[in-house]
């Protein structure tokens, strides 16, 4: 039960990562791999502020904001200096590795004994319900800390999803979606498409850094290596979400990314429980994305072969 609970919570936290990846990869068609750096940046900034006794809420917000700067840097490299999107992301991500070490001052910051959002949520629910450190949910005894965090994340991610859906229906939001769909048309309609990309990557990387800040507080530490492979992880969640909802409609796609992230995390937790070597996790995630990217073509090819065979008969 605790395994399920923690998988759900981490899945929800990482769904912010999935939403960020959805914005850059799907809405802007911009293969932004800054995420590997900005998720750690958010975690690093939040952790340092928390160890300096800043209220965890402000620390989390500052972490998200720092991700926005990282996104702006990548977008500016591409828009102003005409560097290929992928390379822009690689440059910023690489630079961020050093920056994160500087911010943290060492490679790992433990947060277990600090006042984090997780401990605040625990306290809050604890005072509401009095004494017991456990909560009874459908007959299971669940630690209040885990239950509180899960509830808080659920509320927050629902809110984030609704706000994003509304945002992408505004004048600015539709202009951003159209920039990803047909940039030539948007320039012909008087829109500075470079600016749309900058705003888009700021939003995307803020969400990703927010995800990092929350993840650090939930797992109880920030590590400078925690960002490695996160883009692929987010992409896997997005792809899984797309196969779940099978719709390109905006609201459903956002919901899909969230559900994909949770489901992916659950599958991984189950696989680890069954004895999957954790060292193989990134390899398997990469293989999953590879399979998801190639299978539509493979299926189309098989279908074509079958039809051709039918016609021959």
């Amino acid at each position: 039960m605790n395994l399920l609970l923690s998988a759900l919570t981490i899945g929800l936290i990482l769904s912010l990562l999935a939403l960020g990846v959805y914005i850059s990869f799907r809405i802007f068609d911009f293969a932004d791999i800054t995420a590997d750096g900005s998720i750690t940046l958010g975690a690093a900034v939040a952790a340092v502020l928390i160890t300096h006794h800043v209220h965890p809420l402000w620390a989390t917000l500052a972490g998200a904001l720092s991700g926005g700067f990282a996104g702006a840097a990548t977008a500016l490299l591409h828009v102003r200096f005409r560097i290929h999107p992928l390379l822009s992301g690689i440059l910023v991500m690489t630079a961020l590795y050093s920056m994160n070490l500087h911010i943290m001052g060492r490679s790992n910051i433990p947060l277990i004994s600090e006042r984090t959002l997780a401990s605040v949520a625990e306290q809050w629910i604890g005072t509401c319900r009095g004494g017991s450190p456990f909560i009874n949910f459908l007959g299971w005894e669940i630690p209040i800390r885990d239950a509180a965090m899960l509830a808080a994340m659920f509320g927050m991610i629902t809110l984030a999803g609704i706000v994003l859906d509304l945002f992408f229906r505004t004048h600015l939001g539709t202009a951003m979606r159209a920039t990803g769909d047909n940039a030539q048309m948007m320039r012909a309609l008087g829109v500075d498409t470079g600016r749309m990309i900058i705003i888009g990557l700021i939003i995307s990387n803020s969400l990703i850094a927010l995800s990092g800040a929350l993840l650090a507080q939930y797992q109880g530490f920030t590590d400078v290596q925690m960002g490695i492979g996160m883009v692929v992880w987010g992409l896997a969640s997005v792809i899984m979400g797309e196969s779940l909802v099978r719709s390109r409609q905006l609201g459903l796609a956002i919901m899909g990314a969230i559900m994909g992230s949770v489901l992916f995390r659950l599958l991984v937790a189950i696989a680890l429980r069954w004895g999957l070597n954790p060292n193989d996790l990134k390899l398997i995630t990469a293989l999953f994305v590879f399979a998801a990217l190639t299978s539509p073509r493979l299926l189309a090819w098989i279908e074509k072969r079958r039809r051709a065979a039918k016609q021959l008969n």
């Binding site: 505004t170 202009a175 769909d181 309609l189 008087g190 829109v191």
Partner: protein, 270 residues
């Protein structure tokens, strides 16, 4: 009024494949007039339109529209006053967005794109009304992704988008060339209606001699990056498709002579 003075554009300058796409082109289009640009492939027609729209900067010269100097302005800045329809029907609309969303984006041209909802009831009604005028039944397909419409329908919508808020200049780059004859005729008629009704200053590139003879008050013929004929007024009204073909033939024959040989002949015989 569009005022172009001595603009030149060179592609890949200094390289073996250097191409002088426009050579000192000067052209004035008075307010509210409809001019058509014709010419052989590679004569610089599309380059002229793209230079005006700001797709690439000009090497020299200046472009003014209604008294404003556009020469150093970026493409999106100029687009606030210039409407464009492209040759490729897929270029003018966002395929994964709905008909209504595309038109709402166009309706917001020149206004701040803030955090108001793009599609409220009022905008939807306005869009429905304007689509009814097209008489293509598109008013019932507001929420269809544009990618599932035909080329002709998409081009009609692009035309509507380009002229939604009356632009100071409308650039049409062979916008019927990629359509089937029936859709092309429909789009030509629609173009004429919209341009006449709103008195929009228009510059249209065309390959169809019949279109050139039937529309517009002026014909500009380009060749190797220069304007070689400029016919307007009564002589434009008398112009027939055969006359234009004859001019093209003349240009083609001129090309076959080597410039130095032509000079030699001129010195000997003229």
């Amino acid at each position: 009024m569009l005022d172009i003075k001595n603009i030149s554009v060179t592609f890949s300058p200094g390289l073996p494949n250097e191409l002088k796409a426009l050579r000192c082109v000067t052209l004035q289009i008075p307010e509210g007039s409809f001019a058509i640009v014709i010419g052989t492939n590679g004569s610089g027609k599309s380059t002229l339109l793209n230079a005006i729209a700001g797709v690439f900067p000009v090497d020299e010269g200046c472009i003014r529209l209604g008294g404003t100097d556009l020469t150093r302005r970026p493409e999106h800045w100029r687009a606030l006053r210039i409407g464009r329809v492209f040759q490729n029907p897929f270029s003018g609309t966002a395929p994964n967005m709905t008909v209504a969303e595309n038109l709402a984006l166009a309706a917001q041209r020149g206004r701040a794109r803030g955090l108001g909802l793009a599609l409220n009831r009022q905008t939807r009604n306005l869009i429905r009304n304007r689509l009814e005028n097209l008489k293509m039944g598109l008013e019932n397909r507001l929420d269809t992704p544009i990618g599932s419409l035909s080329g002709g329908q998409r081009q009609a919508i692009t035309l509507l988008m380009a002229t939604w808020n009356k632009p100071s200049l409308l650039l049409l780059d062979e916008h019927t060339a990629a359509l089937d004859p029936q859709s092309a005729a429909q789009i030509v008629q629609l173009t004429n209606e919209i341009v006449q009704h709103n008195q929009i200053t228009t510059l249209m590139v065309s390959h169809s001699m019949a279109q050139v003879a039937a529309f517009g008050s002026r014909v500009v013929m380009m060749h190797q990056g220069e304007i070689i004929h400029d016919v307007s007024g009564p002589s434009k009204q008398r112009l027939r498709a055969e006359d234009l073909l004859a001019i093209f033939e003349e240009v083609r024959r001129g090309d076959q002579l080597d410039p130095s040989a032509a000079e030699l002949l001129r010195q000997r015989y003229v």
